[in-house]
């Protein structure tokens, strides 16, 4: 019988992080990139909670809560940006929006 330990949580969160990162890097659609960001935030949340549990340190859960709140806010703002980008560029394809270069 394998006891679930910290390592497992971390592996899960790494996978989640990697998936998020992969999503951010590869997706063309800005919405999908945003979803990648959400995945990464959640990976971080898992870490906070896991470390909090295994180190008897309750603050981890507190931070996770904060992150959730922030993520919600972030999603709202990001979606608003995306909406505006769409308005300006008529696309949400991040490859085409390279004005940052200039």
């Amino acid at each position: 019988m394998i006891t679930i330990g910290l390592t497992h949580y971390l592996i899960i969160s790494s996978i989640l992080f990697s998936l998020g990162l992969f999503g951010i890097i590869t997706r063309k659609n800005a919405i999908m990139v945003l979803m990648g960001v959400e995945l990464i935030l959640n990976a971080a949340n898992i870490n906070f909670i896991a470390f909090g549990k295994y180190n008897n340190y309750n603050h981890g859960q507190l931070y996770a809560l904060f992150v959730i709140v922030l993520a919600a806010a972030e999603a709202a703002i990001a979606l608003a940006i995306v909406l505006n980008i769409y308005k300006n560029f008529s696309t949400v394809n991040v490859d085409e929006i390279d004005t940052l270069k200039d």
Binding site: L21, I24, I25, T26, R27, V33, V94, D95, I97, D98, T99, L100, K101, D102
Partner: protein
Amino acid sequence: MTDIQLVQLAIAILFLPLLGFTAVIFAGMKIKKAYLIEVSIIILAFLASVFLMVQKLVYFPDVNIVKEFTWVNLGNTPLLGPIQWDLGIIVDNLSVIMIFVVTLISMLVHLFSIVYMHGDKRYNRYFAYLGIFTFSMTGIVFTHNMLMMYIFWELVGLSSYLLIGFWFEKKSASDASKKAFIVNRIGDIGMFSGILILFATYKTFTFETIFNEIAKGHLPFGSELWLTITGLLIFAGAIGKSAQFPLHVWLPDAMEGPTPVSALIHAATMVAAGVYLVVRIFALLSADALMIIATIGAISAFIPATIALTQNDIKKVLAYSTVSQLGYMIMALGVGAFHFAFFHLITHAFFKACLFLGSGSVIHAMHHEQDIRNMGGLKKKLPVTYATFLMSTLAISGVPLTSGFLSKDGILAGTWAFAGLTGNYLFAAVGFLVAAMTAFYMFRLVILAFHGEPRNKEKYDHAHESPWLMAMPLVLLAGLSVFFWYTPNPIDGGKGWFVSKWINEPTLVAPNKYEFFKEKEVSQISEANVVEHSAKSNANHEVMFSETYTEAMHHAHYPAMILSLIVAGIGIFFSFFIYQWKKADPEKIANKIKPLYNLSYNKWYFDEIYDATFVKGTLLLSSALAWIDAKIIDGIVDGSADVTRAISRFSGKFDSVVVDGLVNFMAYLSGFIGLIFRRFQTGKVQTYVVLVVFSLVIILFLLK
């Protein structure tokens, strides 16, 4: 009259013509008759001169009245001691006689000109110029001072310039006036240098002081040689003004001026100034200087006489005759015949003025025809002119009973005596030769112009005798060519009052003297009549004309007189032989001696030689220097600018290529680097994220 008053009178005579000049110049612009001011002033001056002469010769025959004025005074100076420029007036026998001659001829010329110049568009100005000339000449006559002599010397040059170039519309006239002034200036430089030497040595310009210093043995630079040089340098002024060889070339050209001017300035008075100068400085001339002076006089007597033989312009003949006669006087001074030189100066002034005015009368009658080949037979038409012209010709040829005979005879006797005393026969030979030539060419002139048949009928028919205003001066001057004004003895001028009473003997102070001038004791002149700054000599030992020379002249007198009569007779005879009786064809004779004839006809090529050497040389030098100045000296300046600009171009290049290049290179380099790194800047968030992650991994890996 007291002596002071005489000096005041002299000053009045001096300044009257200047007043006339100023008045006529200013009034002449508005008033047509302004010339009358000048004419009346000159008559006044003449009357004053007569009065002055009589007063002086009667009441003060043996006193030289001198009055000096300080013109510039620098006071006592640290290095040179007192520096003071004085102007001095001397009223002595020479100056009063000379002033009489000057004002008389000037007055006659004024009167003559009233008719002669009538209708000229610058009529008034002509008289103004005559006024300033008379002023300047009077200054020369009265001066007792080297500086004042130089001042008036130059002013005379100016008035001569103005009058020769009076008809300046003619190029020849303006050329002649320029030539006269410049040639005179050559002599003046010599004179000025002489004055410099005198001032450096004696710190004064006054003749008397200088003579006294020399008598005391104080010589320029302490050497007799320098005294000789000084004398000759001052004489150079006389060479210029009296048109002596080698500066005689200006005088014939000066005939471009109006004929009365030629009579006044270029025959009678101004050109005599050179002789007058030598008379004034006679005391300081050493034997060597006198020898050179005599030689120059002899050359100047001879060459122009040969030229006069062949000239066809009536005024040119007279001009060369003038040079020749002036040479005579200079030669006479050189051999020591002081009295007769001055005597000849006076007699020559009268008869030469008469000749020139006579020629003016002829030219006037012939409507400005000057070539004697177009004249002939004029004696019927112009009886008065002819008579007076003939009288003067007789005088200049040295025919007895004329004044010219007396003075010329004296000069010839002087050269003869000189020959006897020194063994130098050259001057005597030249004297007689020139006398013969003078007689010849003067009679040639008279015969060609007045005798025979008219050669130009048309002009002859229009000729008419001049009005009395022109004739009167001629008669007066011709009258003055008769002997009895000067001496009661028609064959010996030396015994007359003019030579023996009126001309004071100069003292001779130069240490190097002709041997026949001996020292003798001179009694002091009474001081009672002498004005302050007296001209009275302080020296007890004075060298006077010795008995020896006077004696020799006395002995030479009769042989010289006979010989001179013979040579004059020969000259006159040949003249009649060829031109009056036509026994020989002048053309044939000319052809036989073609080279000599050409030499004479072309005035010995002096003008050509001077033109080719000095004039061309100076102009060439000046254009060469101007070229050097513009191309080389200024070229260096401009070149330095060019060099500076070349350097600046180079440094500009250096700056833009190297220095700025380095800066630009840095910019390029950073640009290049930026080029590489900008690749990373895609503007795509995802690329950045990849980079961030990738870098993070590397950092983590490194930090491990």
